[in-house]
Structure formats: structure tokens, C-alpha cells
């Protein structure tokens, strides 16, 4: 008997450390939804590892009662890659932010995705550097005035999900800190995926960038300004379910359902279609409703599976390595 047979609850995943984010921070919700979702996987706590980089998000592992490793700025995916290769049976989560993942750690995100490392990378996107007190981030909107860009940033923002898709991630999704049920669903889907999962969580930094996403996430506007994706379902949105996305040539467009446009004209979401997912990743408010949910999900062998298979093959071919034989291999001669 092990204690893993008793169903775990959110409490089991809550560590004894006092949570130290600013009051009102979106991270509280992400932590709560993560802790709530964990029991649903049926994975023993000791087999779950949370690895983070630097930034406000980096503190999350301390609050999870699992194994946790708070590493250095941008490098969490690299430690996760090594851990997962060494210990394929572990469930590994990477917690990161927009600066950690897309500035200093951009290279590692790209390569962990293209390798299909079996990690769930959750990127808290608040479009600002919070821990260092308010500098522009790679997702800050063009022209944004911050402490480090008093005349406005001159950098075009990066589109995180487009990056993940072109880096060959096998699971790409987006959710919002305040939409707790949707966030739980998204985390659950990511957790059940085998391979590189990239989840962008739109998160509010109420101190340095308050309301960054409010223009489309607020309760009274979100139905008209967000598009909740469901695999196999037409892309319909709006309070009255009266708007949809239609393809004109290679470009999406927003259409009003009615006499001229029928449901049959509306794009149907297909998670397995990478090109469609890319098109969705380019859609953003105010030109388009912001897509949330799983944009892309596909399957290919994971990095640790491929590494392990090569080892198994080598052992099958030449037998388990014999150290003495190895040392005495090559041309030897004997002096008596």
C-alpha cells in the first residue's frame, strides 16, 4: 500500500511556504488552478517536478508540495530537458514568464519545443518585467512607455504562440488567469499531453501593468472579444453566438452570421492542423477576437523516448557495455 491510493486534493499540493506575490497578482489564481488540477492526473506527488526560471513566476515551485527547482534566468527548459532525459518517468512542468521564456531564454524554448521534450511549459504573460519593477518585455506592445522606455518601446512585440508553433511544439494553448475553469481545463489538457506543451496564460500584473488584457478579458466584453476554441467545432463567438471566423484566401475575417453568412461558411477548428493553428496564433484584439483554448495538438515521439530507444537499440545490438572490454579495446600490446 502506498499513500498514492488515497485520492489527493488541492491541499496535498500546497507547500508550507508562505506565498509572497503582491496582493491581487494574477499568479495567485494560476497557482490555485495548478494545485486544483494536479490531483486529476493520478500521478504520485513524488513523480511531479516543477522547474522555474527567474521572475515573479519563478517562485511558483516553492508553493507546490512536489519536487521543485528554482533555477536561473531563462534556463529552466534546459534543466527540464536533462532531468527528463535522465528520468523519463517523471512529470515535468516548466514555469516561466514572458521575459524569462522569450527574452533571455528564447533559445531554450525554441529548442525544447523542436525536440519535443516531454514538458509542460506554462508561460505567465503580463507584458512587463515585474520582479525588476516595470521594464518593457518582449510581449509589451509597440510604443509602450515603461521605466526603461520612457519614450515608448521601439520593439515590435513577439507573438508567443506563433513562436511555439514554428518551433514545432506539439501542444499549443492559451488561457487567462481570471478564467479559472478554462485555465483548469487547459492545464489538464497540457498535463495529459505527451511531448512539448506550450501554454500561454494571460496574467495581470496589477502593480506594473494593471489591466494589460482587460480590454478583451473583462466579463462584459469577453464574449465578443475572445474566441473559445473547441476541436471539431465552428469558430463562433459573441454574446449571441452571432459572429464567426471565415477564411478569405489565406486571411481570416470576422463575419456576422445571418442571411449572407451561414454556419457552413465558418471555419471549423482542427487542433491537428498546424497551419490553421498558426493562422489563429496571429489573430489578436482589436482586429480579431483573441483565441483561447488548444490551438494545436499533435503527436510525435518525445525526446526522452527517442534517446531511450537509441540506448535500447545499442544494447540489443552489442550487448550491455562491459567496462573491462572497453578499456582493453583498440590496439593493445603487452609488456612482460
Amino acid at each position: 500500500m502506498t499513500d498514492t491510493l488515497i485520492p489527493l486534493t488541492k491541499k496535498d499540493f500546497t507547500s508550507d511556504q508562505e506565498v509572497r506575490w503582491c496582493p491581487g497578482c494574477g499568479d495567485y489564481s494560476i497557482l490555485a488552478q495548478t494545485q486544483k488540477t494536479m490531483p486529476d492526473f493520478g500521478v504520485p506527488r513524488e513523480n511531479i517536478v516543477f522547474i522555474s526560471g527567474i521572475g515573479c513566476s519563478g517562485r511558483l515551485p516553492y508553493y507546490m508540495n512536489t519536487y521543485g527547482f528554482h533555477t536561473i534566468h531563462g534556463r529552466a527548459p534546459t534543466l527540464a530537458t536533462g532531468l527528463k532525459a535522465a528520468r523519463p518517468e517523471l512529470m515535468v512542468w516548466v514555469i516561466t514568464g514572458d521575459g524569462d521564456a522569450l527574452s533571455i531564454g528564447g533559445n531554450h524554448v525554441i529548442h525544447s519545443m523542436r525536440r519535443n521534450v516531454d514538458i509542460r511549459l506554462i508561460m505567465f504573460n503580463n507584458r512587463i518585467y515585474g520582479l525588476t519593477k516595470g521594464q518593457a518585455s518582449p510581449t509589451s506592445e509597440f510604443g509602450k512607455k515603461t521605466k526603461s522606455t520612457p519614450s515608448g518601446t521601439v520593439d515590435t512585440p513577439i507573438m508567443p504562440l506563433s513562436v511555439a508553433l514554428t518551433a514545432e511544439a506539439t501542444f499549443v494553448a492559451r488561457s487567462v488567469d481570471t478564467q479559472t475553469e478554462h485555465l483548469q481545463e487547459t492545464l489538464f489538457a497540457a498535463g495529459n499531453h505527451r511531448g512539448s506543451a506550450f501554454v500561454e496564460v494571460l496574467q495581470n500584473c496589477n502593480i506594473f501593468n494593471d489591466g494589460a488584457w482587460r480590454s478583451f478579458t473583462d466579463k462584459d466584453v469577453r464574449d465578443d472579444r475572445m474566441l473559445v476554441l473547441k476541436h471539431g467545432q465552428p469558430m463562433v463567438f459573441g454574446k449571441e453566438h452571432d459572429k464567426g471566423i471565415r477564411l478569405r484566401g489565406l486571411q481570416p475575417e470576422v463575419v456576422e452570421l445571418g442571411d449572407d453568412v451561414s454556419m457552413a461558411d465558418v471555419l471549423v477548428h482542427d487542433e491537428t492542423d498546424q497551419a490553421l493553428a498558426y493562422l489563429l496564433s496571429r489573430m489578436f484584439y482589436p482586429d480579431f477576437p483573441v483565441p483561447v483554448g488548444v490551438l494545436h495538438r499533435t503527436s510525435r515521439p518525445t525526446h526522452d523516448q527517442l534517446v531511450t530507444a537509441q540506448i535500447d537499440d545499442a544494447i540489443a545490438k552489442s550487448g550491455k557495455g562491459d567496462l573491462s572490454k572497453l578499456l582493453f579495446s583498440g590496439e593493445t600490446w603487452t609488456v612482460s
Partner: protein, 611 residues
Amino acid sequence: MVQELDRVTIRFAGDSGDGMQLTGTQFTRTAAVYGNDIATLPDYPAEIRAPAGSLPGVSGFQISFSSSDIHTPGDAPDVLVAMNPAALKTNVGDLPPGGALIVNSDAFSSANLAKAGYASNPLTDGSLQAWTVFEIPISALNERSLDGLDMTSKQKDLTKNFFALGIMFWLYERSMDPTLKWITAKFGSKPVLAEANTRALKAGYAFGETTEIFHTHYRVKPANLPPGTYRNITGNEATALGMVAAAQLAQRPLFYGSYPITPASDILHQLSTYKHFGVKTFQAEDEIAAIGSAIGASYGGALGLTASSGPGIALKTEAMGLAVMVELPLVVIDVQRAGPSTGMPTKIEQSDLLQVMYGRNGDAPMPVVAPATPGECFDYAVEAWRIALKYMTPVAYLSDAFLATGSEPWKVPAVADLPSIAVDNWTDKDTFRPYLRDPETLARPWAVPGTPGLEHRIGGLEKADITGSISYDPDNHHRMTMLRHEKVANIANDIPDLQVYGPSRGDVLVLGWGSTYGALRSAVERLHADGKAVSHAQLRHLNPFPRNTGDVLGSFRRVLMPEVNMGQLRHLIRDRYLVDAIGLNKVRGKPFRIAEIEAAVRLLLDEDSSR
């Protein structure tokens, strides 16, 4: 006529497309299998193919082989084989007067002479009078020996290095068998190439035997090495084997995270062929990912290993600090090369010592070990892991370009004679505290994910002593800093004393580290023959130093410290022991010559006697 010699040093030099490294390696294998003691020094350009015939494109390989114990590839060649004018020009200055010079006269065209910057042909203008010149039309003779083979002239010309090798085999009474075997194995699927190389080799040999050019050939008897089974090994090969051995001895899988860099890449190439030993190799996207993945693997209970050279170590620095902070076992190999920045990637230098000692933010002590010969790279791979595992610490392992690519006969150890370095993971959840230390080693427990009840968090933030909770407490930070320092300093109690070669007290101690070993030892041997009270010691543990280091230093009137850097170990020694050590510092991308060391010691002795 056969003349017996104790020791011969040959340098093969040619264009980097002429196959000089292969030629040198083949001669080395043959001499090694014959039972000579050997030492080799490859010297090649960083450019893959510099313009053919140009001075920067010259590639050389020096081998010294002997019937007695030798430590270096020789100060100067006895024989220089120059395959083109550029090779002649860049190497002939190293050939002592009277030395034998074998040249491929076919390569001395006006175009090649111009590329090498010769205004007139040295073969005819009398400028080579100081040497015994053997002009051989190697290209033409070789092409003739390949008559009838289905190959272009250009392809045929690529085998001329084996014609030259054949000549050298005849000249030094060597069997062609090891090379013939190698040809069969290498070109088995390409019969034309196998035939061409075989013919070239045999034609060169026959040329030596039948022509009247060489009046004498030479015999260098096998060396009287200690009994055992030997193989020829380079430092990089020994490093890779040592790492696999360490993993077997520790009974844990080896994970190797690495990014290609000269001169460390061969370790990756070799380890990637040991998959049947459970070795997982990972060619990372950059140096930081390489070390990050290794730390991740160590966190998971494997032996996380990474390697690079100076520029890559610079990139790994922050992660090395993380490993110090989270106190996980990790070995970081630095195969040093000439710096700073990109420097001279294929050239020799030992100038990263202070980088691995101090190149981190905060007080972040790390043990440092440094093998002194290619064969020792094996022993110190195991030693690095012994320390890393026992003390839960990252360890720096300093090799260099000379050790990495140079070779020597290596007495293969019996596996049963290797030390056991296995350590257990922590499993008891009642007594587990992430930073509760072993009272003797001060190591914290290694608690790996997957162990029920030990769920805990580690990271780069300062941790409270024992509990491992985040702590900004001033006294705690001071205590933890002291503990990290003490843990590494205490390793001094667990490493062998510094050995002194020669009298234990005397006039001069020649103190070195790393690949200078051979030149230092040989110089001191010569001085002993002259009755001088001079001794040699080579430090293999550079942090901490062996406990008796201070006593050894105090037993000599003078301490001379030759280093292929501006005096990095000397800084550490002077700092730690307040000894007025004298530096001998040369950074020419080349190893010390024995004569340079000997002269420096004699100068000191003369100074003292004239006082």
C-alpha cells in the same frame, strides 16, 4: 647499415589537406604497438582547409619514440618530413643543424614557392646547407605506383602521405602490418581506395629499401615499460573512458550535455558511441543549455557531465554558480586552449585556471583537478566524480589542447583495481532535511525526484541552513557561505600529498600543473644527471591544494613555476603560502621545451651561487 638509437623525434608537416595528422597517427600506433615509449604533439590550424599551399594551412604532427621512458614529444625533431614549401618554411627553423630533412621535391613548383613566400627555390639556392636534405619526388613516384587504378590524378595525389609513411617505416624498421590492417578496416567497402593506399605505403617502403639515397636505417628498441597491457591513448580519449568508468563505478547512468567546441568536441563524439553503457549524450543548443541539462540530470540522480573550452566555460559560469548553490554533483570539463576570446582555438595554453577558480558571482568555491598526462585524464575523471559525489559539489576538471590531442602509451587498469565511488540517495523521510549536512564531509543529502515523502524545493536563492527554506537572514547567509567554503576546503584531508621527485629539500623546486609535466620532469632529470639539488612537483589538485603543499614549498630555497599562462597558479600559490615563487611564463600556443625549463633553473642556480 643499421644504427641503434635511444630516441628519435619525427615531425610530419604538410598542407592541411595532405593528411599529416593521419600519417602521424599511423606512425604513432605502429611505434606504440612495437613497444616504444611515445609522446606526440599534433599541431594543426583552426581553419578546416586554409588555402592549399599557404603558410597558415600547414599542419604538423610530431612524435617522439624511444627505448626508454620519455615525457615529452621532444624539443626539436631529428627528422622533418616536409610535403610542400610552406611546410618547409614554417618548420625548418625547429630542425637542429645536421638534422634530416625529407622533402617532396614535386611540390616545389614556382606557384607553391610563391605561396610560401620563397623568392628562390630553397632546394637549389643553397639555403638548406645546414641540414641533410633528401629530395624525393614523392608525388610522381607515388602516382606511378598507382598506375592502372581507376582514379583521377587528384585522387591519386591524396595518397602520397602513405608513400612518405612507407619511407619512414623502412627508415625506422617498422612493420607495415598495423597500417595495412587499418587500411582494410577503413576502406573495406571501397576496394580501389584500399588498393591505392596499400600500394602507396608499400611503394614508399620499397623505395627506401632499394634506392641508394639512405645509407643507414635506424633501430629504436622497445622501451622497458612496467609490465602490463598497454594502448596508445590521447587525453580526450582517456577523459571519455574515465567518465564512462566513473559512471560504472558509481552505478549510475552518465548524462553528457555538450555544445561543439575545439578542442573538446572529440569527447562528445566518443561518448556518443557508448550508448550500450547507458550513456546519454545531448548536443545542446548552446553552452548554457549543455550545463543546464547536466545539472537537471544530476538533480534526477544521474552523473551530469558537461565539457567545453574557455569561451564556453564563460557562458556556463552562471549555471556553475547554481550548482554550487544547490550543492549537486556535477563535473565541468574545460579543455583549455589559447585565449582570450576566440584566441587560437587549436593551440595550447593553460590560462583558464583563475576562470574556473574565481569566475563566478558571489563566493562560490569549486574543487579543481588537473591531470598531467594524457593517460592521467582517465584517473582524474574518476577522481573528479569521487569528489563530486562524496561532497555533493560541482568539480572543475582542467585538461588542455596538448593533453587532449597528444598521446602516450597507457597502461590499461584492471577494473577491479579502480576505486568504488558509489554513494546512496537519501530515502528516509523522517530524518530528511534538504540542507542537513553529513558531519564529516558537510555534504547535503541527495534526494532525487521520485522518492516518496522527500518532496522539497531547491534553487538559486539562499537557503536556510538545514531546512532549505528561502532565507534572507544575515547570519544564515554568513553561515551558509562559510559552510560552502569549509566543505571544499576540507577535501584537502581526502586527497594524496603532493609528491616530490628528487631530493625533499634543495635549491630549486620546479612546480607546475597540467600538461607541462613532461617538460618539467625531463628538465629535472637532466639536472639530476648533472648533480643539481633540484626537484619537481606537479599539482593535480588545484583546489584545495594537498595538505603538505606549504611544507614542500618551504623545503626549497627557490620555487620556479613554469606555466603556459601569465602566472595563474603562481597567484594562487603566492596568495595562499606567501612564497616568493618565480614565474616562467610563455604563451606561444606551444608546450614548453625541456631546454627552456632547464635553462631557467640553471639561471636561478647561477644567480644564487654568484651571490
